[in-house]
Amino acid sequence: MTDLPGYPSRRNFLKGSAAGFALTGIAASAEAQVEAPVSLDEYETEYLNGAEWAFIMAATARLIPSEGDGPGALETRVPVFIDRQLAGDYGSADDWYMEGPHAPDAEPARGWQTPLTPAEVYRQAIPAFDAWCQSSHGASFAELDAETQDAALTSLSEGEVELSSELRDFWSLLLSNTKEGYFADPQYGGNAGMQSWVYIGFPGARAAYREWPERHNIEYPLGPVSISGERA
C-alpha cells in the first residue's frame, strides 16, 4: 500500500487508534444527539407485515451475513431500507408503465411484464417461498438454521423454487434491494453509520477530488460523509 505524504492513510489510522471503534463511536455519538434509531426488533414497519418482516430479517442476514470482515445487512439496517422502499413510490411502481395486457410468461429478456408492483411481488412471493421451505425443509424460512437458509436461497436463485411467472423476479428484486440498502446513503434507512462505505473505502457524498486525478496508485485517505453531513 502506498501512503500519501502528509495524510494519515485510512488503514494506518484504523490500526493506530483502536479505531474501528473510535470511528463508529464518533458516528454514534453524532447520531445520538439527534435521536438513536430504534432497534430492529422494535422497528415499526411501514409496509411489511410481521411474517414478511421476519422473512426479510432472516433473508438479508444470509445475503449479507455478519460473519467475517465488514458489516452485515442487519448491522447496516438493510431491512428498514427495504420496508421503506416498498412503502414508497418504488414499491408501488409509480414511475412504471403498468397498463395491460400483461405477458408475465414472456422471456425474461423482455423486461418487467408481470401485472404486479414490486411491493405486491414481495407480498405474494414471501408466503409462496415460505410454503416451499416448509415442504422442502420442514419449516418456514426464518425458522431454518443458517446452513439450510443458504441452501434454500441457492434454490431460489437457481430457479428451483416453483413460483408463478408473475413472481419470477422475486429473487433478483430481493438481492438487488438488499445491496441497494447496504450501499445507499443512510437517509434511506440502511447503510447505518455508513459502515458499508467505510468497509470498502467509498467516500460517500464527498464529491470533491480536485487534487486526486494525478495522485496515481495512492489510496484515498478520508472516510465517508453522508448527504446529511455525518462523518464516519
Partner: protein, 590 residues
Amino acid sequence: MARTEPKKDVVIVGLGWTGSIAGIELAQEGLDIVALERGHDQSTVPDFQYPQQIDELKYGVRLKMMQKPSQQTLTVRRSGDETALPYRSLGSFLPGNGVGGAGTHWNGLNWRPMPEELRLRSYVAENWGEDIIPEGMNLGDYPVSYDELEPFFTRFEKVAGISGKAGNLNGEIQEGGNPFEGWRSEEFPMPPHRATWDSQKFGEAASAMGYHPFTASAGIASTSYTNPYGMQMGPCNFCGFCERFGCYQYSKSSPQTAILGALKQYPNFEYRTNSEVLKVETAADGKTATGVTYWDEAAQEEVFQPADIVILSSYQLNNVHLMLLSGIGGPVYDPVTGDGVLGKNYAYQMNGGVSLFFEDEHFNPFVGHGANGIALDDFAINQNDFGALGFIGGSYWRSGTFNGQPIRNMPLPSGTPSWGAGWKEGIGRWYGHAMSIGSHGSHMAYANNHLDLDPTYTDRHGRPLMRMTFNWQDNDLRMNQYMKSKMEPLAASMNPDSMQSGFKDVGAQYDVRPYQTTHNTGGHSMSETAREGSVNRYSQAWDKHNVFVMGAGNFVQNTQYNPTGLVGGLAYHTVNAIRTQYLSNPRPLV
C-alpha cells in the same frame, strides 16, 4: 375543449440541447418563440445542487431525472414475428425528462463523426465494392459532408465548452491528439483533462503496442471558461457524479450551463413546462404545419399553439413517435416491401469491454468524470479493412474512471459469489482495485430494425405507443468480436491478477433489462431525396417545409461515437439554414 394561444413565429417541441440551440439562435433574429417542454423546469440551483444531487439511489438507481414510462414509453420486439411488449421500467436506454433533457444527465462524451462515416456507402464502394455490403443492411451516405459540417461542429464545441487536444488541425497531424480524426479548423476550446491512474496505465500499454492513445474529448470543463453566449463554466473537480446526475458545479456541458441562462434573457422567448405536445397540426393543403396541440398539465386541458415554424427537438424516440402520430415525415416504412421512410434506419450502439483486477493497486474509482480517460482510434472505421475483416464498422476504446459508486459499479473477478459471505469478502477485497477498458462501436441500419405505431398499447392520452422492432445483427456482432480479439492481448500486457471480457457474440438477442446506452438513432433519417428519408440535408421535413426536426433521429446509420457532437453540429447547420435561407423565403430548401 381546446384553448388556443396567440400565434407565435416559432414553436419548439422539447427544450433540451437542440431546442435550446434553436431557441437562442432564432431569438437573435427577433422572432417570437415559445418552447413547450413535457417535463418540469430545472436549473443547476436549486435542482442539481450539493449535496442532494450526490445520491446514487435516487438518481443512479431509481432514475429520478429520467422519462417516466408511466408518462411516456414504447413497446419493443426483436422481430416482426414477436408481439411487442411495453418497456415498462427503464433499462436498456434512459431518455431524459424536464428542461435540459438528456443533456443534463449525460456523461459529456462529445465526439465528432469521422468524415468517412458521413459517406460510408461511397467509402465502402470505392475501397471494397458494394458486394461486401451484407444483405439487409441499409448502408447510406449522409446528404451533408464533414467539410460542410465542420464550422458547425466547431460552433457547438465552443458553446458546449469541450476540453481536448486536436489531432488534426487543417490537415496537420498534432502531437498528443487523435491522429485519425477529421480535420479541425481550430484547437479545442479548453485543454485536455489530467489522466487518472487507470487511463495512464492503459495509455502506456497502448503506446507499447504501437497504438496512438490520446486524452478523450470531454464536455467537462478543464478550466474556467466563458462561451460565446457569455455563459460561464467552472473546472471539474472529478466528483464522479456525471452520468444520470445533473452537475452541481457548472462543469458539465448542458443546456443549463451553456445556453438557457442566456436564452431566458430574450424577451421574445418564453417556455412552458409540463406541456406535452400531442400532435403537430397540418394545413388543409398538407404542405405545411399550422402549429401544435399540447396537453397543459396545470390547466388539465388541450391547447392549440399556432406557429409559422415548428421545430421538433424532443428525444429521438419521441420525435419519431410524434411524427408517426401527426402524419409528418413521409409514408411509414414497411420492412416487408421496403417502401416508406418514417421509422426506417433505427440504429443503436455496439459496445463491449474488459475488466482488469489488480489487488495491490489503488484506482479510487469515485475520482473521475463521465468523459474521463485515455482513448484510441486504431480500430476505428477509417482504420479497418472491411473486406479482409468481414464486417463494416469500427470502435473507439477508452479507459478512465467514472461512476465509481458502489450500488452499480462493483466489478468482481469471475467466480466471486453474488451474495453471502463470499460476496462480502469480495467487495472488501476488490472495490477500488479494478479498472476497465471499453469499446464503443458503430451500429449500422438494417431493413428489419425500425419504428412504427403499436396496435395494442396506448398512453395516458389514448394515443398508440410507438413500437420498436430491434435486434442485434451479425455484422456488428462480428465487429464486436474483432474488438475483443484485439483488446484482450492489450489488457493481458498490463499483467492484471485476473481479467474478464464482456462482448456480445453472434447470436446475441436484444435484452431490454440491463443499461446499454441511450444512443437511439434514426427513424426520421436525412436523405438526398424524399424517397429515401424523412428530412433533407437541412433537417427540414420533405413533406412539410415549415417543420424542422432535430436530433439523432436524423442519422442515416449510427457512427462509432457518442452522438451528441453530430447532433449539435447538425442543429447549428439547420438553424443556420433557417436564418440565412428560410426566413426570407419560406419554402422547401432542397
